[in-house]
Symmetry: C2
Subunit: 212 residues, 2 copies
């Protein structure tokens, strides 16, 4: 199955700006993207990056700076189906997660993201088109029904958690051990329990930033 991984290193993860500077945001986003690509490879498949500019990741890459939905739809309509799309900011996924996703039966398989997005999908029906702008999960669900496609949802925390807020970093430290986790450790981030949900703090004395 063709597996596309859209990745925009230009303005990655704006909401992480409260704890990362611009270079750090890009480095962390790249580390997450590497994790996603390696999990796909670990499941025996070949990821194809759809990047908005050249990136330093050793994976087949198409550079295309049009909108996410346009680029993904062009990719989906140019290949033999089935094809999958997996977002680049899912460092919690493992080869087993990818295998579970790809083995889920359905004309359209959706992996919902926190907040109503669509973090991964499989398309086996040629009429399906993506629309990632605003509440995409609901839109994709409605569209699958409209084209009479057999719709399946995959229930996965690892696929649901796209990392784009400081509070999510604790999940990376707890549930992942790849490039993103290494990057966080190397840059002084540690998990803490301050009552209720866990958080991360930045202990690197060279930094004046502090995680939420």
């Amino acid at each position: 199955m063709r597996i596309f991984v859209p990745f925009d290193p230009r303005r990655p993860k704006t909401r992480l700006g409260s704890i990362f500077d611009d270079d750090e945001r890009e480095a962390f986003a790249t580390a997450m993207c590497r994790d996603v690509c390696e999990s796909i490879e670990g499941a025996g498949h070949t990821p194809e990056l759809l990047a908005t500019q050249a990136v330093d990741i050793d994976v087949q890459t198409t550079v295309d700076d049009r909108s996410l939905s346009t680029v993904v739809n062009d990719s989906l309509t140019s290949v033999d189906l089935p094809a999958a799309v997996i977002m680049a900011d899912l460092p919690l996924i493992t080869p087993a997660t990818v295998e579970r996703l790809l083995s889920t039966v359905g004309d359209v398989v959706l992996a919902p993201g926190m907040g109503g997005g669509t973090n991964a999908l499989i398309v086996r029906q040629p009429d399906f088109r993506v629309d990632y702008h605003g509440g995409s999960y609901r839109k994709h669900r409605a569209q699958a029904r409209a084209i009479d496609a057999d719709l399946a949802q995959i229930d996965s925390f690892r696929l649901a958690l796209d990392i784009d807020e400081p509070r999510h970093l604790v999940e990376v430290l707890l549930h992942s051990d790849g490039h993103a986790t290494s990057w966080l450790s190397r840059n002084g981030f540690e998990g803490r329990n301050t009552g209720g949900r866990g958080t991360v703090v930045r202990t690197d004395p060279a930094s004046s930033n502090r995680a939420e």
Copy 2:
């Protein structure tokens, strides 16, 4: 398998206080607990509530106001294993989620919650004890290793998302259709997309509260 559902209606969901008053918090927590119990029943099992006070839910209930960990450990050590513990604030779970949890193999099976908690677990090894205070997932994982138990994790968004912040309500509206969803709709909550992740707003004109 015995399935315990701990539920504290006395101080439920403090972080929802920004949008619910005290009575509403308790009513919403009770609606979520009903959803959890019905999903367990839908999977062919019998939930047993461990509640800190009498509750208006038609399920076998033990009232015990000691600490969560104490009550759960007393329950686990008083029954024949295996036994499961499923939190009451998981309205996204379905009978299929419960079946998937209960069929997961392992001496100790953990369902991580957002922020490092443990939202459900199965115990098949008599030496295992719970400790829910602060970062319980990490502690439970370490303890399972210490007692040489075969440890498994279940990767489920529906189990990972305990609802205790306003931002989580949009997930209830999107992915559930039980008592909690009905309660939200009846009380004027609607999903909105305001760019990025979805949120809920309260449209009930009788209310001066407004969701984040």
